[in-house]
């Protein structure tokens, strides 16, 4: 992950703003409604004050209750409450909509980005971290937007509005009450500081715990068959105990917030009662005023208690947003500048490497001046000890990575001058780690060809020898695989990948150890099917079997990441180099 400067809160907001730019009027409407609804709520106690005062006056004077006046106040109250509720309703709906819309757009950007990131970035990244960015962080952000952003607006307006109204009611009483407010914030801050440390520790312990769970689950087979259950439990208990302690502490400290806030609030309440009462006795205040003041004191308590919590959540949301934005800022693949185009239906399979230099990192070059030429229909066996960098060759052919210098050409066209899609449509490959997605078997096979019919799928499956085992599965071709379903063996997954390539029917084949985990009997059948498919097609085959190697038109011998020797078996044997050496050491057994 590229290190970027930490964004300020404002910058994050500015960057997120573009996702809702075309909804600006709606944003303004939501803000307006929230403020309006809050103002209406705040105004209400004024009218309840009028009622109480009117009642108190009537009682004091021994007169009849002034019902027309009270009736008017009540009507105003009802109107205020209805307006407030209406605005809140509108704002809540629209906020959900807006935050969901934004998350959706953000996700679109993320997935788009994933399409365009260079493989070297994705290969070098910790997958779990990346995944957590695109999933968890999105959820955190949407939660923060939906719940907390509007809450802050409401709470902010409420606090300010109530303070204003308090001053309108009585400056003296307000000043007394406001002594209490800073106290609340001070307490909150102290607690938050302490709890942040504790929460971080708790998250770390939780991370350890989850790590262990993941490890034990993914090794379930081993855990069972080696009687490792108790050991695993002991390790779990150990971490879990630590988690318990840190959880208890962080919970307790954060739980202190409420009682302390309540206490401070009660102090305010008492102050109002006592001071207000004295003011009323002295005639400088009314009973209705106390009443209204108490309502305000009650109403201001919860926003004060929760606004800082909301700020914290917003901060968490902002941190999540920052991580996402950070991800979106990564350099993309060089854009395609297709100067030429290949007619993919008419590719013979001429491939040439001319003086290719390549290294994953510039400081460590792997390919030094590699030149080779594959003519149409030739079988190129890529050979070398494991870790010799055979997949590098594939990465370059398919232009997953860009070479540092030299030229790779297909049909005498520099592959850098073709669009990637155009280039890749010429290739078919069976990857070392077969990738199956969450879907039915049929869908996974049909992946190789747009609009493949069920007949196409079955035909390909039969050719790839997977028809039989598919029929053994509960739902046959409609069995859902990928995702959680793990009951296919490695060999079976590979057969499906082969079927997928068979259905794609590409011009150039890259068989990346396609048969390494398939047993020899099946291997023979596949080899036959592939020979059929390979007819007239240039094939790069990362090979183990001597038969394949000896019968290949050319052998590409790799070692230490570089291509060392290229030529036919006889040529290389005559050369008496590295290949000949290895061959002899293997076969004199």
């Amino acid at each position: 992950m590229k290190k970027t400067r930490k964004l300020t809160f404002k910058e994050v907001l500015m960057q997120l703003e573009k996702y809702l730019r075309n909804e600006r009027h709606l944003l303004i409407m939501v803000g307006f409604s929230l403020v309006m609804s809050t103002i209406f709520t705040i105004l209400a106690p004024i009218y309840t004050k009028n009622i109480t005062n009117s009642l108190a006056d009537s009682v004091a004077q021994g007169a009849d209750v002034n019902f027309p006046f009270i009736g008017r106040q009540i009507i105003i109250l009802v109107v205020l409450y209805f307006l407030s509720a209406g605005f809140t309703f509108y704002a809540t709906r629209k906020t959900s909509f807006l935050s969901q819309l934004m998350i959706k757009r953000l996700r679109e950007d993320i997935q788009d980005k994933l399409n365009r990131l260079p493989l070297n970035y994705l290969d070098s990244c910790e997958r779990g971290d990346l995944l957590s960015r695109v999933t968890n962080d999105c959820s955190t952000l949407s939660g923060a937007l939906e719940g907390n952003a509007t809450q802050i607006l409401v709470q902010g307006t409420t606090i300010i509005g109530i303070i204003v109204m308090m001053f309108v009611l009585s400056v003296k009483l307000s000043l007394i009450f406001l002594v209490v407010l800073p106290l609340s914030f001070l307490i909150l801050q102290m607690i938050t500081k302490k709890t942040q440390v504790l929460f971080r520790r708790q998250q770390r312990e939780l991370g350890d715990l989850n790590g262990l769970i993941e490890e034990v689950y993914s090794g379930h087979l081993i855990v069972k068959s080696f009687n490792y259950e108790e050991e695993a439990s002991d390790r779990f208990e150990d971490i879990n105990k630590r988690f318990f302690t840190s959880y208890l502490r962080s919970r307790f400290f954060s739980g202190l917030t409420t009682p302390l806030m309540k206490l401070v609030n009660n102090l305010g309440y008492i102050a109002i009662c006592v001071a207000g009462g004295i003011f009323v006795v002295k005639g400088s205040f009314t009973i209705g005023g106390i009443q209204a003041f108490l309502i305000y004191a009650n109403d201001i308590a919860s926003p004060i208690a929760s606004i800082s919590n909301n700020f914290n959540n917003i901060q968490a949301g902002a941190a999540a947003a920052e991580r996402i934005l950070d991800f979106l800022k990564n350099d993309e693949e060089l854009p395609d500048h297709p100067i030429q185009e290949l007619d993919s239906s008419n590719i013979e399979g001429n491939i040439e490497f001319a003086h290719v230099e390549f290294g994953y990192v510039p400081e460590r070059m792997l390919f030094h001046d590699v030149s080779l030429k594959a003519s149409p229909g030739q079988v190129m066996a890529v050979v070398g000890p494991s870790g010799a960098g055979k997949t590098t060759l594939v990465n370059l052919l398919m232009r997953f990575y860009e070479i540092n210098s030299g030229v790779i050409s297909l049909e005498n066209k520099n592959i850098q001058e073709l669009s990637r899609n155009n280039l890749r449509s010429a290739f078919g490959m069976v990857l070392q780690d077969t990738w199956l997605f969450d879907g039915t078997i049929a869908e996974n096979i049909a992946y190789g060809k747009t609009g493949a019919s069920r007949e196409d799928v079955i035909r390909a499956a039969k050719k790839a020898q997977c028809h039989d085992f598919i029929k053994k599965l509960p739902l046959g071709y409609d069995t859902i695989i990928g995702g959680d379903f793990t009951s296919l063996s490695e060999g079976e997954c590979q057969l499906l990948a082969i079927a997928r390539t068979i259905i794609a029917d590409p011009a150039v084949l890259i068989l990346d150890e396609a048969t390494s985990s398939v047993d020899t009997r099946t291997e023979l059948l596949i080899t036959k099917a592939m020979e059929e498919m390979m007819k007239g097609k240039t094939t790069f085959i990362i090979a183990h079997r001597l038969f394949t190697i000896k019968n290949a038109d050319q052998i590409i011998f790799m070692m230490d990441g570089d291509i060392k020797e290229v030529g036919s078996h006889d040529e290389l044997m005559a050369q008496d180099g590295l290949y000949a050496n290895l061959y002899l050491s293997a076969s004199d057994h």
Partner: protein, 579 residues
Amino acid sequence: MINLLMRYLKDYRRQMIFVFVFVLSQAACQLYLPVMMGNIVQNGVAEGNTQVILSSGMHMLMVSVAAAVCMVASSYFSAYVTASFTSRIRADVFDKVKDFSQSDFNSFGAATLLTRSTTDATQMQIVVINGLRSLLLIPITGVGALIMAFRQNVLLTFILLTAFLVTSIVIAMTTRRSMPLFQEMQKKVDRINLLMKEKLTGVRAIRAFNRQAYETDKFETANQEGMDAAVKASYAVAFFSPLMQLMMNITMVVIYWLGSVEVQQKIVDISDLMVFIQYVLMFMSSLSLVSVLLMAYPKAEVSAARVKAVLDAPLSITDPQNPRTLGDVKGKVEFRNVDFGYAGAEKKVLSGISFVAEAGRTTAIVGATGSGKTTLINLLLRLYEVTNGQILVDDVNIKELEQKRLRENIGYAPQESVLFGGKISDNMRVGKKEATDAEIEEALSMAQAMEFVAPRQDGVESVITQGGKDLSGGQRQRLSIARALVKKAPITLFDDCFSALDFKTDAMVRKNINQAFANKTMIIVAQRISTVKDADKIIVLDNGLLVGQGRHEELAETCAVYQEILKSQAYADSKEESL
């Protein structure tokens, strides 16, 4: 959810009682405040008695402090209960999964089990934290306020009560309607996350097949559906909180009106009305807290159901009541008419398998992919249960043994080598806790792993990452073989673990094993004929049937399937080697 909570919380009865007592005291204190306020208004303000005002104020102050102390105490105990709950439930899920047989495990899937033990547990814990105190406090304050209100004025309380009933009905209806919507939303979010994950893991395939546009379409659909579901769910509850607020406010207005009438009729005093309204306010704030809780509830409910499904899943393989014991294990393994099929599958994976692997001998199993070789090994380890027939070790049916005792006697190198993060030596001790360093080194050398372990800085004490991602496939496989060898069990199973090794290493490893394990039972699943040629007995599987057993020479004469395999490998090269 409630069910699950009860199950756990009942063990913390004492702490719960403390929580309850302190919450109750706190609520009582809180409820006392308006009474004192009424006192201030009635006896202080109305009479113009500043002394009463001040002394009542002092009273209130003391009561507030007492309330705060009670809250701190209840906070501690509720934190204790929550912490216990959350660590206990994780431990229980973990232990349960640990006891799962392979088929139980696969019926859930590793990914979802992981979510259930991590994310779902967290989700529930959030509700417990918020719920424990609030759930107690709210009804107590609510009911308390109601009772106090009732003492003040009967008619007004009935109005309040009516409002409360209506609100409760609204809450119940909203929850019922929105719950499925939230579940739906969760499903869509899971789908989006799954697609994201696929995009990451399948990036090469997606690009190689030029399916970016297809993937984008697929994602856009899921994304749109996700948004729609989320918006729909939030719309379903959007009216909730404003409506509640409105209803309570209107109730208050009604109380003002009727209160005014009663003041006129001299039924109530104005200070009573003020106190009453304080209680209404208190009652309202507890109700609004309920609504906040209820919003979080559907999510936790879904999680709870998922966790509960794991905890309550029946174990398909359990130990017998009165297990038989194995003495000194000789290592004879017998399959008698064994059938195995996945529940609901059209075809059986294995049927009518009968053979004997003699003690101290090497038995090899060959056959095409999907012919049932790995299944056979898993059945012997009792990771799956046979559908029919029996498997016997030293003439004892393995169903009559404790699983632990059975597996104690079996060393196992699986097809896919799984290593744990940590020291190499710890990995080696997985099967035999008390293995000495010498034993470990011996096993590593036998598996030809010393050559890459020794040069590491800390040798066998060096640390590998989880899953051994920093090792090559062949290296992982060799460690996995060594791990099986450390055990020196009477029976050792090698499930096709030699094929990832290059030819030379393969030959060396097998030579070492044959020497050291000469008198032990070995069952080897293999693909290369060269690996199995010298076995005492070869079992040939084809499509779940046993189609031949005997020595190499016999099978080469009589068994058609074996001949076919032979031919396919002869086709490769008479030498049948690989680089």
